[in-house]
């Protein structure tokens, strides 16, 4: 088994194999063909005359396409190949197609026994993660030239249809081809693998695809779709060539991260991460849509529609659902189907509901699409009502969270969702409910932006006044109750007794973004953000050096998150801290250059001078949507782009090394506009000094 995994995907269907194209999954090994959060193939192994193959080269041509050049033998030292094998694989929305070619390089014919072993464990993604046992039963049957693998638990049925174009001897564990390949000739076959759900009839001779629609047609759509996506995107030109490369990488990765729900097949929203988080996440989809707005607004409108469609309507403790709440995560696997997991969808987050309103307003400011704002009026009002009626768990006027599902709910319902992310200076963990600071910022921003929409679009000035009054009151109380006087920053949270959870964190940057910080306190916040305890030289750490739980490679307790930094840069610009914002832009863009344009979810918080390069935090998902979106928002922050009525304000504060920088054809209510700036801020003093 090779270490190097190859993954290709389309929406929430993806194939992870080794570099030979083979799949040999174990219960906990995350390889296979997955669709709708279910593994449809856990074994897919090619042999020729009983021999495994060795990869000479592997290319992932597009995010949905891979090619493997192979030769027979285990290839320990030297391969004397008289045969070569080419596997070309295209993933589609409900499975994959593989073209298998065997080339004979000898001057005489050769008899071959070509075999593909296939099996499926039909594991739910959650089962792969937690190594759980299956409760249903397996079947395999042969239908003509196809092998059909099946799984059934009560009325829950999933099937994998494997069909070959060339005549095959099909048995319950695979397909065999006994062929003679002429001298210098070749043999080939197409193989089609279809993931099917709840086959209506066990005597059916065709799969009922989990999605519907002809596959070839979809594939043409994909290739065309990607080309169109890239063509429609604005062009970035920069003297610092790395910026152009990073931008191209981001737009291509964003294309791969596009995901269509069953209810809106023609539209795309950003899924959270590839491949394990190819689903709607309220928070991730909203943040990524916000980041991408200056470059594309399609992701935002689809995200808003999809989230509104599934907005909470009732009180459901298992799913942490309340009326008006925006979902956290949607899943389609067996455990969700049997309500053993709450993801149909699960609502356990305390930020996405306010952020939904923030995105709706920001989207309108860029696009002028008041129709969507009208269509989503009820959803936006319900979201704003949730903040007051359901999120104030302690009756103290602050948004708090605590899961009502002790077994499978989420403890930390903010973006820092790991168990130790919220702590006091001494490392103690607070009880629940918790009111983290950024949630109050988002709530404030949602009220202010909701008021603007109410006044300008819904024509309800009374409601607008009411929201603004609430926002002003929240801001006044927040600046009093969260302010840590001896450190001159805002506490990361209030605990269940209303006491300050007093550690210094990157969350204070989100407060600048939301606008909840009083002007008199903003200078101190900006100083901390680029100060030695938080700023590593590459970016702002999640938790400041000196706090008891600080760990430069701790998930939310010291690493640097590019997404976090992009919103911090935007926040710094909002309060006029150009110098500080440019330092964050310079640091993260330099890291992006090192990572070849693809920023990881997080990297180590070591001081820049001590490692010389950013140390990647090991995560299973890459690219991650909001890391992919981070450079886009950083470019916006660098140029100081702000829509103002039908105009786009440009107020550059770019690091010196950018030189001349421009974005051509920025789309928006002004149709298309070119914007440019010149780097003039010396950021080295801060970024290189750490």
């Amino acid at each position: 088994m090779s270490d190097q995994l190859v993954q290709i995907l389309e929406g929430n269907t993806f194939v992870v194999s080794d570099n030979r194209g083979d799949i040999e999954a174990s219960e906990t090994d995350p390889t296979g063909l997955f669709s709708f959060d279910t593994r449809f193939l856990s074994r897919w192994v090619l042999t020729i005359n009983g021999q495994r193959l060795t990869a000479l080269s592997t290319d992932d041509l597009q995010y949905f396409q891979a090619r493997f050049f192979l030769v027979p033998g285990s290839g320990t030292v030297y391969v004397d190949a008289t045969l070569s094998v080419k596997r070309e694989r295209d993933v589609a929305h409900d499975g994959f197609h593989e073209d298998l070619r065997v080339l004979n390089h000898e001057n005489q014919p050769v008899d071959l026994d070509i075999r593909i072993e296939a099996a499926s464990d039909f594991a739910d993604l959650f089962e792969v993660k937690d190594a759980l046992k299956k409760k249903g039963s397996y079947q395999a049957r042969i239908v003509g030239n196809s092998l059909v693998l099946g799984y059934r638990r009560d009325t829950y049925e999933r099937e994998t249809w494997i069909s070959a174009a060339a005549p095959a001897a099909v048995d319950e564990t695979g397909l065999s081809f006994r062929v003679t390949v002429p001298p210098h000739g070749e043999w080939s076959t197409g193989l089609d693998i279809v993931a099917a759900a709840n086959a209506a009839d066990e005597h059916a001779d065709e799969p009922v695809s989990i999605r519907g629609r002809g596959r070839r047609e979809v594939h043409r759509d994909m290739a065309r779709g990607l080309a169109k996506w890239l063509e429609r995107a604005p062009t970035v030109e920069c003297d610092w060539k790395a910026v152009e490369r990073v931008y191209r990488r981001c737009m291509t990765d964003l294309a791969a991260l596009r995901f269509s729900t069953l209810t809106m097949p023609g539209r795309a929203l950003p899924a959270a991460g590839l491949p394990w988080f190819m689903t709607i996440f309220g928070r991730d989809s909203i943040f990524t849509s916000l980041q991408a707005l200056p470059f594309t607004s399609e992701l935002a409108s689809t995200t808003l529609l999809a989230l509104a469609e599934r907005q909470g309507t009732t009180i459901d403790d298992f799913r942490d659902e309340d009326p008006g709440r925006i979902l956290h995560e949607m899943r389609y696997g067996e455990l969700t189907a049997f309500e053993e997991r709450p993801h149909s969808p699960y609502y356990g987050n305390a930020d996405a509901t306010a952020l939904f309103v923030v995105l709706l307003d920001e989207y309108e400011r860029w696009t002028g699409d008041t129709k969507l704002v009208h269509d989503l009026q009820h959803a936006a009002r319900a979201a704003l009502a949730w903040i007051n009626e359901y999120a104030d768990l302690q009756g103290n006027g602050y948004v708090s969270y605590q899961t009502r599902n002790a077994e499978s709910g989420l403890e930390n319902q903010c973006w820092k969702d790991s168990w130790d992310s919220i702590s006091y200076r001494n490392g103690d963990l607070p009880g629940f409910p918790r009111a983290t600071c950024e949630l109050q910022g988002y709530a404030y921003d949602a009220k202010i932006r909701g008021a603007r929409l109410a006044r300008q679009v819904w024509k309800d000035p009374g409601y607008a006044d009411h929201l603004e009054k609430e926002a002003a009151d929240l801001k006044r109380r927040f600046n009093r109750d969260f302010w840590v006087a001896d450190g001159e920053y805002f506490a990361v949270a209030l605990d269940s007794d209303g006491r300050q959870v007093d550690s210094l964190t990157s969350n204070i940057g989100h407060l600048l973004w939301s606008g909840i910080v009083e002007k008199s306190k903003a200078r101190a916040i900006a100083r901390h953000l680029v100060g030695p305890r938080l700023f590593s030289g590459w970016g702002v750490r999640t938790l400041a050096e000196g706090e008891a739980r600080y760990n430069p490679i701790g998930y939310h307790v010291g690493t640097v998150w590019p997404f976090d930094n992009s919103f911090i840069a935007w926040g710094l610009r909002r309060y006029g801290f150009k110098q500080e914002a440019a330092c964050v832009v310079a640091g993260i863009m330099a890291a992006a250059e090192v990572f070849d344009g693809r920023l990881p979810e997080a990297f180590g918080g070591y001081p820049r001078s001590s490692t010389g390069y950013p140390v990647q935090y090991p995560t299973a998902c890459s690219p991650q949507a909001w890391s992919t979106g981070a450079p886009l928002l950083l470019l916006r922050a660098g140029l100081g782009l702000e829509p103002d009525g039908d105009h786009l304000i440009v107020d550059p504060a770019l690091p010196l090394n950018f030189g001349h920088f421009e974005i051509l054809d920025v789309p928006g209510r002004w149709k298309k506009i070119d914007v440019c700036g010149r780097g003039h801020i010396d950021t080295d003093r801060v970024t290189q000094a750490r």
Partner: protein, 146 residues
């Protein structure tokens, strides 16, 4: 099953009829504003099928027993649908599990889900947890005997 083989069960008081009666009582549902869709629920009870045809137009809801075409035709056994309208079974879970099949628009079914009640036992409340309890759960050092 062809239409000639089915017979409409007589309308009777039951949780499903009650649910649809309650749905049309207010006549207008704010949560369905700016929505337009038709759904037909074919509820199987042994050999008989009872139908409810729902029309949603900008929040106005009308229900009949007509066997008319709809954007989404939902087929389900009576006990399962009773569980859904009673909040004991989640409709999306039922769809994924194959208890409920939808012919046509999944979006219409998703929209209709907004009319369904939550689980009977859900209160929206939970007892606070102290810092000590959280520490004991997560921090191995706290579990060590002194």
């Amino acid at each position: 099953m062809s239409p000639t083989q089915t017979r409409s069960a007589p309308t009777e008081a039951g949780p499903i009829s009650q649910f649809f009666d309650d749905l049309t009582q207010p006549g207008h549902l704010a949560t369905l504003e700016s929505e337009r869709a038709t759904l037909r629920f074919d509820v199987r009870d042994g050999s008989s099928v009872q139908r409810w045809h729902v029309t949603v137009q900008d929040g106005d809801v009308a229900v009949t027993h007509q066997n008319a075409p709809a954007d989404a035709v939902v087929t389900i056994d009576r006990p399962h649908f009773e569980a859904i309208v009673g909040g004991r079974l989640n409709a999306t879970a039922a769809l994924l599990r194959g208890l409920l099949t939808c012919d046509g628009s999944v979006a219409a079914v998703m929209m209709f889900q907004r009319c369904l009640p939550g689980p009977p036992g859900s209160t929206g409340r939970v007892a606070p947890i102290t810092s000590q309890t959280v520490m004991a759960k997560h921090d191995p050092s706290q579990r060590r005997p002194a």
